[in-house]
């Protein structure tokens, strides 16, 4: 698969640490919701650095969006989140990945579970679902540290309008909004039982987020009776354990 030149055509701040970049790529044929793309940066002396980013936009020709959360001390994400500006050049290769993908043709219930910036590929699925007029009933359980850390909050509210067939539930791990019915805390079996499709509805399940979050959420889903083969996961970052 070849590298293709891409132009940053727009940037949009999502939260204090996350930003969406629109990349224009000539001949880009679109992607499957959930896929990612390799992004390569080249310095003036020829040094290159490459990272993979999930595509957050709905499939479109000639264009894609990535939503990047800054990793402190990182090499590529600080540049994409702070420095890259419209008109700047990067290279992309993709779309990549044939497992963590959802088809808008699926009529099974859709269960999405996101931790932090793990919302990005799941947002592509929800945008594709809306664009395709899919009637697959969908639920999103979205874990964030505090209200201001939720990426795409306003758009998710619009997507989950009455009649949309989408329900969005937030889990706040550090600080909750005023009047929130639950104390701050991690996703647990009780919240999952309240907010997620039960196993007997046989949903397509996609879980994306930091490693520890995905480990916990996937274990809870299996314990709640979901078949391990129906639970597709994408993890990022360190294990959070030793080393």
């Amino acid at each position: 698969m070849r590298w293709q030149p891409a132009e940053v055509s727009a940037v949009h701040a999502e939260t204090q640490s996350a930003r969406t970049l629109t990349l224009r790529v000539e001949g880009w044929a679109g992607h499957l919701p959930g896929q990612h793309v390799d992004v390569r940066l080249t310095a003036a002396d020829g040094y290159t650095a490459t990272r993979s980013y999930s595509i957050s936009s709905a499939p479109a020709e000639g264009e894609l969006e990535i939503t990047v959360d800054e990793v402190r001390g990182g090499e590529v994400s600080p540049y994409l989140v702070r420095d890259a500006a419209p008109g700047d050049a990067v290279e992309v290769r993709g779309p990549l990945g044939g497992w963590f993908v959802w088809s808008p043709d699926s009529i099974r219930p859709l269960q999405l579970v996101a931790g932090g910036s793990g919302i990005a590929p799941l947002m592509s699925m929800l945008r594709a679902r809306a664009a395709a007029g899919s009637t697959a009933p969908a639920r999103l359980l979205y874990s964030v540290r505090r209200p201001g850390a939720a990426i795409f909050a306003a758009e998710l509210e619009r997507l989950a309008a009455p009649g949309s067939g989408l329900e969005v539930t937030y889990a706040y791990t550090r600080a909750v909004p005023p009047g929130w019915p639950r104390p701050a805390g991690r996703v647990d079996a009780r919240l999952l039982a309240e907010a997620a499709w039960p196993a007997d509805r046989s949903p397509d399940v996609y879980v994306c987020g930091p490693t520890g979050f995905v480990e916990t959420a996937a274990d809870l889903l299996v314990a709640a009776g979901h078949s391990a083969t129906d639970v597709r996961t994408e993890r990022f970052g360190p294990t959070g354990s030793t080393s």
Partner: protein, 199 residues
């Protein structure tokens, strides 16, 4: 020469060790798995090699742990671009496990608890190149890293080092496994940057 990303400078060049192309160094040990982490109880664990003639060689945990084991220090290269150098493992060499296995097969199809599969030429498992590892960094191998035991083939991208390994099926033909069917390279040599089908 590739196009230049204005204002991008990257890490200090002198810090870069000798890594395969397109990789970056990490000191973490990231976890990449396609689904939930299987929990495999040791009392039902077994590692089984099935030859192309249908002959089975099987070890339960006790028999497996009585085989001679080796300490090894190897570099890991994940197709998602991180490399981790100098990792310490303990495991049983595939040379030991394949010692009494009579086969003319050229390929191994690797199967794992949880349903994961991968494939590689049998010769890549021989001559001190591959192990069934059960300790990492002096500790029992954690489930999220493939415990109780995983295949370790450090000269190929890490998706070939199947976690939660259950056995090998020796075959005359190369049969694509899980990621190989999902667009990844059939062989996966990091030094030739064989990430995706067609690389």
């Amino acid at each position: 020469m590739a196009l230049i990303s204005r204002g991008f400078s990257g890490r200090p060049r002198s810090d870069e060790p000798d890594l395969p192309p397109g990789q970056y160094l990490t000191s973490d040990f990231p976890v990449l798995s396609a689904g939930p982490t299987p929990r495999v109880p040791l009392d039902t664990w077994a590692f089984t090699i099935v030859t192309e003639a249908g002959e089975r060689h099987s070890w339960d945990w006790k028999a497996f742990r009585q085989l001679p084991a080796e300490d090894l220090t190897v570099d890991l290269h994940c197709v998602t671009r991180w490399s981790k150098l100098g990792t310490s493992w303990r495991g049983v060499s595939l040379d030991t496990l394949l010692e009494d296995v009579e086969t003319a097969a050229e390929y191994a199809h690797v199967r794992s608890y949880g349903g994961y599969t991968t494939n590689l030429p049998l010769e890549d498992l021989l001559d001190g190149q591959a192990w069934i590892a059960f300790e990492y960094d002096g500790e029992d191998l954690a489930p999220e890293h493939g415990g109780p035991a995983r295949l370790l083939v450090p000269h190929l991208y890490l998706w070939k080092s199947a976690k939660w390994v259950q056995g090998l099926i020796l075959t005359p033909e190369d049969e694509p496994g899980f990621w190989e069917t999902a667009g990844y390279h059939i062989y996966g040599d990091p030094w030739r940057e064989q990430r995706y089908a067609g690389d």
